[in-house]
């Protein structure tokens, strides 16, 4: 440090460093704060955009049309129950696939696999996580539906809710597995050793010691998986059919429509319907989007609670 010769006194002024260094420090801090604020701006923009456009839609639509017996935006029928049922069916089928496979994989990786097997097997899930959803949509349409849904359950339609649900389930496996595995892995070894010490078998340790100890994380993984399944779009858009309109039904072996599917088909097919007096059916997508946003947000906040409980426990 250059300073006037002989002046070795320590002053607050000198400890602060040179002005140039301090200015740089302050500038960097300001830039970092700006970058951080952008995430907040995005959140606010999402909420404002959804609410503002939803109000416009609700002001124009005849509210009775939100409770008819089908989702046919072109004919002015916006039955919410139709797409709720579709969404629920797809998500439940997805979880029937993803919960056992994801949790099984998580438990194997955390409790049974040696470090080297773990390193070798984990890329399977990571690769699966990297597969884009359009690809799984194609897979659901071309493979799952003809082979599984039509072959096993005797469906006749090319597009079925069931095939879409299975496709979404495959997409959700890696998410469930990774969150659940983190939770099981975080269980302290002392618990396992104590159980082994009094003669427990491996299976007993895994199911009666580790699983209960990690149960918050397991629940979190399932909620998060469900939320992901609710928001999945492309698989449904390709494999569930009913893009032009859907009737209200509970049969998973028929084509159907979900909230995400409804948004995407409005987005790509709406141009022709513009100009309807007063009401633009296109605007329904904002309303459905807002509902979807609130639903997934509620689930994510819930799963975050459970994850925090895991952290507190250990």
């Amino acid at each position: 440090m250059a300073s006037t010769a002989g002046d070795r006194s320590l002053s607050i002024e000198r400890l602060r460093g040179r002005p140039r260094r301090r200015r740089k420090e302050a500038l960097v801090r300001v830039l970092l704060v700006i970058a951080t604020t952008i995430s907040l701006v995005i959140s606010i923009a999402i909420v404002v955009a959804l609410i503002e456009q939803t109000i416009r839609f609700l002001a124009a639509v005849d509210l009775g049309e939100l409770w008819t017996e089908g989702w046919r935006p072109r004919s002015g029928q916006f039955d919410l129950l139709t797409i709720f049922i579709g969404t629920l069916e797809v998500s439940v089928i997805a979880m029937v696939i993803a919960a056992p496979l994801g949790l099984g994989a998580a438990m194997y990786l955390s409790e049974y696999a040696t470090p080297s097997t773990r390193r070798r097997l984990k890329p399977i899930l990571e690769t699966l996580a990297g597969i884009p959803s359009v690809v799984l949509g194609y897979f659901a349409l071309q493979v799952v539906n003809p082979m599984l849904v039509q072959g096993l359950f005797g469906a006749t339609s090319t597009f079925t809710i069931m095939a879409a649900g299975i496709g979404v389930g495959i997409l959700t496996i890696p998410l469930v597995a990774s969150v659940a595995e983190d939770a099981m892995y975080a269980v302290p070894n002392a618990l396992r050793e104590a159980a082994f010490g009094i003669g427990a078998r491996r299976k007993t340790v895994a199911t009666r010691v580790v699983f209960p100890a990690a149960v918050s994380g397991v629940v979190a993984s399932l909620i998060l998986g469900f939320s992901r399944a609710l928001g999945e779009t492309m698989v449904v858009a390709i494999a569930a059919g009913a893009t032009a309109g859907a009737t209200r039904h509970w049969n998973p072996l028929e084509p159907g429509q979900t909230m995400t599917g409804a948004i995407s088909s409005l987005a790509i097919g709406s141009d022709q319907v513009k100009g309807a007096a007063g009401l633009n059916p296109f605007d329904a997508l904002y309303f459905v989007g807002l509902l979807l946003f609130m639903l997934t947000l509620a689930l994510n906040v819930m799963s975050e609670r459970f994850v925090r409980r895991v952290r507190r426990d250990f």
Partner: protein
Amino acid sequence: MSAIAPTRHVQTTVELALRGRRRDVAGRVFQGGLLLSLLLSLAILIVLLGTSLSDAWPVLSSRAGAFVTSNVSRLDVRAGVRQGIVGSMILIGFVAIVAMPLGIAAAIYLQEYARDTRINRLLTTNIRNLAGVPSIVYGILGLVVFVQALRAVTGPNVFGRSYVSGGLTLSALVLPIVILITMEALRAVPRSIREAAYGVGATQWEVVRHHVLPYAAPGIFTGAILSLARAFGETAPLLLVGAVTGYLSTPGGRTPLEILQGQYTSLPTQIFSWSRLAGDGWKANTAAAIIVLLVIILVVNLAAILLRNRYDRRW
């Protein structure tokens, strides 16, 4: 003390009792079941790749080169994915330029600078929640903000449905993921390194720039690659911000700005629109486009995994 040797009978009985039933059949079955659930994922991957390859074979065997280098066409035998590949590359270029620096900067602030105040906790929670918002909702955000409100800037001649809108939408989608991954990588750098640097008089930024970031770099880099791969395969939000699903003309001789403000498509968008067309020719085209997409994404993911395994270190 003289030890009385136990009879052989007692010895074996005790030994057996201690060891338990010799074979834990239920345990083995359970372990097998768990392993099976993991291997089933592998089987799904193999079937998926296998069917895509066999569906794509008519195209890959006869005109693989032309398929990658030709534009969209109404004729299935002439259609190709060049525009999709170029479009996806430009889009993730956008993400790399916009979302990466912003995400890394925000992560540095939250992990290194921010004190544990209520506002900062709120910011982190907010980012976690943003990461869980369905991608199609980001599409709606892009539609309202970039396509409609900022139309004059993003694409005055194409109703705002341009690369700029698509790229910014994908950037918003990936930003929270980049922030979370970078924060994790920064968290893994031990305190002692920071303290040592502070101890010799470094300022906060100098500590971050010269000591924390280099140590966290492999983790950040891996995360960045994976986020780019995610953006590359993303389709749903692009449908809302106007990626072209049908015919697209890309005339030559435009300035870079004109291209960025012009119409666009992406590889996944092409796959989506082709998957809805009837006929074996289009099915083969769809499968071939999927193979191209998967090859790109799997190579990128593999690079990220190798990079992580190579630099995975623990303190």
